[in-house]
């Protein structure tokens, strides 16, 4: 095999893998099928994948006015809060506080899952995916000897302050879930790492790769974007700079926004900046 065809094969493989990954992620994203209205009214679904509300006087295919949309949103949120009376609802301001706080965001903003307290009652408010997962986690936990995980459900340690809130829709995951998610994230970052260090994977034509000027992604400062990039004469995102570098020093072709390689490169660069405060617009 010639060198050129070898490279082409590698490139094709990357494209195929990347394409497959995108297709899979789209296909597997859960879709909330709302029950149809007997009168042909518009039915709006809530983000929990379970709750829905019918809007009287507005037919399927019609557009809500701003006030109608706000009214149905309020109604759905009201319903969600009724179903999850003890849920730890984060207001917008609380999210800011959690992000700025020291330590891992996970511990700060997401309480341990329901059932961390021995004897906690489990409420199944519906048949959505979240509840199913919670049920599975609870079944698994029931089969494991108590005390092995230090008293926490699903391998999560019990809260130091004793009882924790339950009825939480978004907190229903175990340490095992966290480990799986971390492995998947790390693999994505590792893919970015490989691309970052390979002129061939970047599509470069002159043997230059990102790491040659940015070892460990040094001096890429992803936390400073978006910012006005004088050389472009407009506001740039990190991906604009990645593509600029691919096109110019690396002399490859810029990648489309949804390209697997561009996403992986972003993931790798961001992963090198853990703990650095976001400072968009900084020069």
């Amino acid at each position: 095999m010639t060198k050129t065809s070898g490279l082409a094969l590698v490139a094709a493989l990357v494209v195929a893998l990347g394409g497959g990954w995108l297709a899979r992620s789209r296909a597997e994203a859960p879709h909330h099928a709302v029950p149809p209205s007997a009168d042909g009214n518009l039915v709006v679904g809530l983000c929990d994948g379970v709750t829905s509300a019918e809007v009287q006087g507005v037919k399927e295919g019609e557009r809500l006015t701003r006030s109608q949309a706000q009214a149905v949103s309020d109604q759905l949120m009201e319903e969600w809060r009724r179903k999850n009376p003890q849920a730890n609802w984060d207001d917008a301001r609380a999210v800011h506080v959690a992000q700025a706080a020291q330590g891992g965001a996970l511990e700060q903003s997401v309480p341990p899952p329901e059932g961390s307290r021995p004897g906690a009652s489990i409420k199944f408010g519906g048949a959505g995916a979240a509840e199913g997962a919670r049920e599975a986690a609870q079944t698994k936990q029931g089969g494991a000897p108590q005390g092995q995980t230090g008293g926490g459900a699903g391998g999560m340690p019990a809260g130091p302050q004793g009882p924790v809130q339950d009825g939480h829709t978004y907190g229903a995951f175990s340490q095992r879930d966290v480990d799986i998610w971390k492995a998947a994230t790390d693999e994505f970052v590792a893919q970015g790492d490989r691309i970052f260090h390979s002129a061939d994977l970047l599509g470069g034509t002159i043997g230059v790769s990102c790491d040659m000027c940015h070892p460990n992604a040094a001096n890429t400062h992803p936390e400073t974007y978006p910012k006005f990039q004088v050389q472009f004469g407009r506001v740039a995102l990190l991906r604009d700079m990645i593509n600029w570098c691919i096109e110019n020093p690396v002399r490859g072709k810029p990648l489309p926004d949804d390209d697997f390689k561009l996403r992986a490169l972003e993931a790798y660069i961001l992963a090198q900046r853990r703990g650095v405060p976001l400072e968009y617009g900084k020069h």
């Binding site: 034509t205 790491d211 070892p215 400073t224 050389q231 020093p249």
Partner: protein
Amino acid sequence: MAWKSIETKHYEERDAFFRGLGRVSRRSFFKLAGVSAAAALAKGLVTPQSFQLVELAWAADDGGQAKPKFTFAYISDAHLYEQKLNDRFVRAILKAVDDVNALDPQPDFVLFGGDLAQLGQPKELTLGRDILKTVKAPVKMMVGEHDWFLDMGALWQQYFGPTHYSWDHKGVHFVTIMSVVEKDFWTARGMTPMQRMQTVAGLDNGVQSRFEVGEEGRKWLSDDLAKVDKATPVVVFSHSPLYKYYRPWNFWTDDADDVQAILRPFQHVTVIHGHTHQLLTNRIGNIQFHGMLSTAWPWPYAPEGLPKLTVQMNRADPFDQFDGCGDGAVDVLENGLANALYNLWDRNPITVKASYVASDGGQDRPPTTKLPSF
């Protein structure tokens, strides 16, 4: 495609000129470089000439405190691929060759600071050798890890001779020493020579070993210096810094402490090193250290371990191929110390004076950076 970057347009303008380069002989190669400089002048761009003006200003600046005795220039870290693959780095070293050839008066010699090749390939080393043949002043060669780890220095030594050597020049003892020896990390991993080379060529991988002068090199250095009077100024050339700056990137020499011990008895020692591609200054006791600029690309400053005497250079503009790169000169002074001139392309040059280093930053501080690195 409608939109073209500044650099792309720039390349297109110059491509026609460089297209014929592969076909020219070494003899006409220099003429071509002269044509390039003339073309730049005709456009109103003053490239090599700015270098000379700075030389004069700098000599006047010292006001008789420490007169320059003689000057040598340097070119370093060219990282050449073969030309048909990458003409960008070829352009950069040619620019440096133009710079040093335009110096008037000419430097006593030109040090090449190592990493002539990117992956130790015969075509890369041959291209580099041919380009350096167009330097008018005598060239002193230093070996870098990129030159070595494909064939373990076979071709480099065939072209350029031994890796350790010394000579006396106008009362100064010069030493060139290989500092990029690595312990065998490749045999156990079953690596091919190319895999070994590519591993060493990456800065941010933890697989390779740390650089060292090694026992043999240290013995050679001790024996060589045994003949030298302790009052004689000593200038040492190494590729890696002969101290410990940042281990993960091999901005580092593992046996630096032992090497420094060999240099400690001498009154005036200056170490000039490559590899770090940045304005870098350090002092350990009697030893002053200056890093050299690369012609190919600048490295960012490491996240920790930066010597406190270092006045950082401004962040490089990614939109300018030559920004943060360059060449330079070292002025060996009557008092046995040396001033280092960083000829940063497309920027004002910076001189780091011996008096600044000797006074631990107390006087003659170089201009500080406007944009600190991230």
